[in-house]
């Protein structure tokens, strides 16, 4: 297969794809005089419009995506992204709104924000939401800052944050960025929080427990209320990473589990597209006690009109510009309105059905370290395949040959050689069966012909890439050969 050149390699003088209209104001000849003006931009592209269109169309064809097929990337909730949501988010009234226009000019936008905040409160059982954080990790940071601000006001911000060993890497990273030292709590043999270990570690120096529920194994923390009690008894807060909320909508609410702070991922549970790595959106919900600390501004309804309130003395400030990834917010609101209460309950139920169907269908071929019942995802390991020298990476790369996207492998760290599979609710039985069939074939190949796995993928635009050299001798931009 011929590799698509870099745009810089087809660029040449005399080609262009855009022209500005003729200047319609009187031209000031010396407009640049006295300014630090650049002579030009060496090697900046010069190509035609046809070349642009073909370049990006060909590149697009080298991407796998949800619109092409099954994408069971665990913890990422790669569900179908409804097209109507893209359409409504592109309405000119939203698209061209300037975020600094006075409130009376943007009542529609403010209503969208308020509606989504209210609906998320109902779905998660919380008292208030902010939509400002741009992604899950920024939501975690904001959420931990709220806790810290509240503790500070009570006189002691405390030193530690407890995080289970099964957690996603952003949890410890966000806690650290908030000025906390991280302490790991152990998982028990069910893969859930070990209450004894938690009790031992929980004390007046601990600000919070950051918990994902259902956790990264897909297991619901059955003792969630006991956990909350242990944390609350020592004056700590219970933070919930809501990355896996897709298992729960309409079935139970974090607020009812005595969670104090939660972040949700609109780009997971609420169907907004991942865009190849963003934009996401990571709203944070809180109970009343933490509401005064939310980022500014807050949207409020005053005398029939929506207004922005900047005057909140206890606020943590802002974590980014303006009001968040607004168009993502529009899409998530459209999703909630299109599903309604029954639809939101159904997505969780079918996500759980699909995941359990896969788990049941593959449990003979792949090792399940934890046999605890799971909800929306299941985590196998490569333990049985390791005997034949085949790793989870080999399995993943071979899946590419079978036309599906590999599962998540980088965590949870408590399952060595993890294959975290999250099918989501939108998949057909035919696609699920296709995946199961591929996984079974791979298990068979492992025993009969492991070489074909070690050298996979065979049918992708490029084959296995040398990541070690990339990191050791980083080449992070194109440069003209001299």
């Amino acid at each position: 297969m011929i590799r698509e050149p870099l745009i810089f390699e087809i660029s040449d003088k005399g080609k262009r794809a855009f022209s500005c209209p003729k200047l319609d104001v009187p031209e000031k000849k010396d407009i640049l005089k006295g300014l630090p003006v650049r002579a030009g931009i060496p090697d900046f592209p010069r190509v035609s419009e046809v070349e642009i269109v073909r370049h990006f169309t060909r590149l697009s064809q080298q991407n796998y995506c949800v619109d092409i097929g099954f994408y069971p990337l665990g913890s990422c909730t790669m569900k179908y992204n409804p097209k109507i949501n893209e359409k409504v988010a592109a309405l000119p009234g939203f698209l061209l709104s300037h975020p600094l226009a006075t409130e009376d000019l943007v009542q529609g936008n403010l209503e969208v924000i308020k509606l989504l905040e209210d609906y998320l409160c109902e779905i998660a059982g919380m008292d208030a939401f902010t939509l400002q954080p741009a992604a899950g990790a920024q939501g975690e940071l904001a959420g931990m800052m709220l806790i810290r601000a509240c503790l500070e006001e009570m006189g002691n911000p405390r030193k530690f944050v407890l995080i289970p060993d099964s957690a996603h890497g952003t949890n410890p990273s966000s806690a650290h960025l908030c000025g906390y030292a991280v302490e790991e709590t152990k998982s028990n043999e069910d893969g859930t929080v070990d209450l004894e270990d938690l009790t031992k570690r929980m004390n007046e120096d601990v600000a919070a427990l950051m918990l994902t529920n259902p956790n990264t194994l897909g297991v619901f923390e059955y003792d969630i209320k006991k956990i909350a009690r242990i944390v609350h008894a020592k004056g700590g807060f219970l933070y919930m990473d809501g990355a896996n909320m897709n298992a729960l909508t309409g079935r139970c609410r974090p607020g009812d589990m005595e969670v104090d702070v939660i972040h949700l991922n609109l780009h997971k549970t609420f169907s907004t597209p991942h865009g190849g790595g963003g934009p996401g959106s990571g709203p944070v919900g809180v109970k009343k006690a933490l509401e005064p600390y939310l980022p500014i501004p807050r949207v409020e309804k005053k005398g029939g009109a929506y207004a922005l309130n900047f005057n909140r003395p206890k606020t943590i400030g802002r974590v980014r510009g303006f009001y968040g990834n607004y168009l993502v917010v529009v899409k998530a609101l459209a999703y909630i309105l299109s599903l309604g209460p029954e639809g939101l309950k159904e997505i969780a139920e079918i996500a759980v059905l699909n995941a359990n169907y896969i788990r049941k269908s593959l449990e003979k071929e792949y090792d399940l370290k934890y046999t605890t019942p799971t909800l929306h995802e299941c985590v196998f390991s490569d333990k049985l395949q390791k005997e034949f020298g085949v790793s989870n990476l080999d399995i993943a790369k071979r899946l590419i040959d079978y036309g599906v996207h590999p599962p998540t492998m980088s965590f949870p760290l408590i399952v060595h050689g993890a294959l975290m599979i999250e099918p989501t609710e939108t998949e057909s039985k035919r696609d699920l069966d296709g995946f199961i069939e591929a996984m079974k074939k791979i298990a068979q190949e492992t025993r009969e012909n492991p070489g074909v796995l070690k050298s996979a993928p065979h049918f992708s635009p490029v084959r296995r890439l040398d990541e070690t050299t990339a990191a050791r001798h980083p080449a992070v931009k194109w440069e003209r050969e001299r």
Binding site: A17, S60, H98, E140, F220, I224, F322, P373, L375, D466
Partner: protein, 448 residues
């Protein structure tokens, strides 16, 4: 509406395979006391036509797109070529995840590699990351990066740095033992070099300035950089109006150690504040302290060129609490749009667009500044924004303009109490002469 693809028969077969009799049974792992025993209190589901109507109504409650707007202040309306919308709306770009599996993500990865190259070319930096959330959080990440690099506790920022960027930096550094001090602006609108000189000391880890600054004024980056470096402080330049890089000298040429900013101007609509595109580049020696994703070039086992996410030992999924940043999902699709935008405008188009911004805003500043009761303050050279001071209350003037279907300049009173009768106006290439003349006419009326 429903996006479920299972038939009743499918569900039945699947439940049988699992060995349970109902969906309820699958939730057996939920303790009784956390179950929700009522339907969510949400409006009933809408069909697609109803949904479209509902959102058309919400969008229609905004004054945009009908009003003619002169707001800038970190958010700019520029022309976006059709190919940007056309190509970026492909499902292959909208619906994949972060490119963790490079063999099936070469499209996204090569585009990020091209994006990183473009950012380096524009900023004059050696290396660039794959994107950050927005300009404000990019400035905060730059401050954190500087503090990792030299461990000094004080960061100087100009007061002419976007107020929201300053607020965001404050939030990010609050718990990390770093503090910021503000440096005032001079009569020209640029940073007050005397004040900068006074505040620079051994504890200063970095000097961060925005250019063109919040008032639109082009800063003397050469001088500021010399000041910073003479005190062994890092020099950070932030650019909120990225189109300016098409004509103004790259900050790297003035010795900037880190250049960050907001690239919303590259193919992203104002969108009521997001999604936007934070960017960041640095000198090569600081590559391993950059936050966020980075794409690198490599080869596959057959020796063909390919691209991968690299240097991930900086990142949260490997380093956890020791990572350079907690960022995971970034703004990849926005970076895609910026890449298409920049490659379409090309070398000459970008410069032409930048120069037209200067020509049109210069024309506007000139004719508006002549109106009785209007005075252009700040003598410094500007890019596409300028500050006007009025003899009458700014809000009253803006209310008058509103009645004429116009959104006037940004009232600076709340952000800068000393500029309480002033407003920040932005004029880009997307404004026509007629637009500008209409504004002038109405301002004249308002002040009559």
């Amino acid at each position: 509406m429903s996006y479920i693809s299972l038939s009743d028969k499918d569900k039945k077969e699947m439940l049988e395979k699992i060995g349970v009799s109902s969906l309820d049974e699958l939730y057996g792992c939920l303790p009784d006391d956390v179950r929700l025993r009522r339907p969510l209190r949400l409006p009933p589901a809408l069909t697609e036509p109803e949904l479209l109507r509902r959102f058309e109504e919400l969008a229609a409650a905004n004054a945009y797109p009908d009003y003619l707007s002169f707001l800038g202040a970190g958010v700019y309306r520029h022309f976006i070529p059709s190919v940007v919308d056309y190509l970026s709306s492909r499902g292959e770009f909208i619906t994949p995840y972060t490119p963790y599996q490079p063999e099936v993500s070469q499209g996204t990865l090569q585009i990020i590699f091209e994006y990183q190259t473009l950012i380096c070319q524009l900023t004059g930096m050696d290396v660039s990351n794959a994107s950050l959330y927005d300009g404000a959080s990019a400035a905060a990440e730059a401050v954190l990066m500087a503090s990792r690099l030299n461990g000094k506790p004080k960061i100087l920022v100009s007061r002419s740095l976007h107020p929201q960027y300053r607020e965001t930096i404050r939030t990010y550094i609050k718990n990390l033992g770093v503090r910021i001090e503000e440096v005032g602006y001079s009569a020209g609108g640029g940073i007050d070099l005397d004040d900068l000189g006074r505040k620079l000391d051994k504890e200063t880890g970095a000097v961060l300035v925005q250019s063109p600054n919040f008032f639109g004024v082009v800063e003397d980056l050469g001088r500021i950089g010399e000041f910073a470096h003479s005190h062994q402080a890092l020099f950070i330049v932030t650019v909120a109006e990225a189109i300016s890089l098409g004509v103004l000298e790259a900050p790297g040429k003035f010795g900037a150690d880190i250049v960050c900013g907001e690239a919303q101007s590259f193919g992203l609509a104002p969108s009521f504040g997001g999604p936007y595109l934070g960017f960041m580049g640095s000198k090569k020696e600081h590559l391993r302290q950059l936050p966020g994703r980075i794409t690198g070039q490599t080869t596959d086992i057959d020796g063909r060129r390919g691209f991968v996410l690299t240097l991930s030992t900086r990142e949260q999924h490997i380093r956890r609490e020791k990572a350079t940043s907690n960022i995971c999902t970034n703004q990849a699709w926005c970076a895609l749009r910026a890449t298409i935008f920049l490659e379409t405008l090309g070398h000459d188009g970008l410069r032409e667009m930048a120069v037209q911004n200067m020509q049109k805003s210069d024309y506007a500043a000139d004719i508006l500044g002549r109106i009785k009761g209007v005075k252009k303050i700040f003598g410094g050279r500007f890019f596409n924004e300028f500050v006007l001071e009025f003899s009458e209350d700014v809000q009253e003037i803006n209310d008058f303009l509103k009645e004429k279907g116009m959104v006037g300049g940004l009232n600076l009173g709340r952000l800068y109490p000393e500029l309480r009768s002033a407003a920040l106006f932005c004029v880009t290439e997307a404004h026509t002469k007629e637009d500008i003349d209409r504004l002038a006419g109405h301002l004249e009326e308002a002040l009559r």
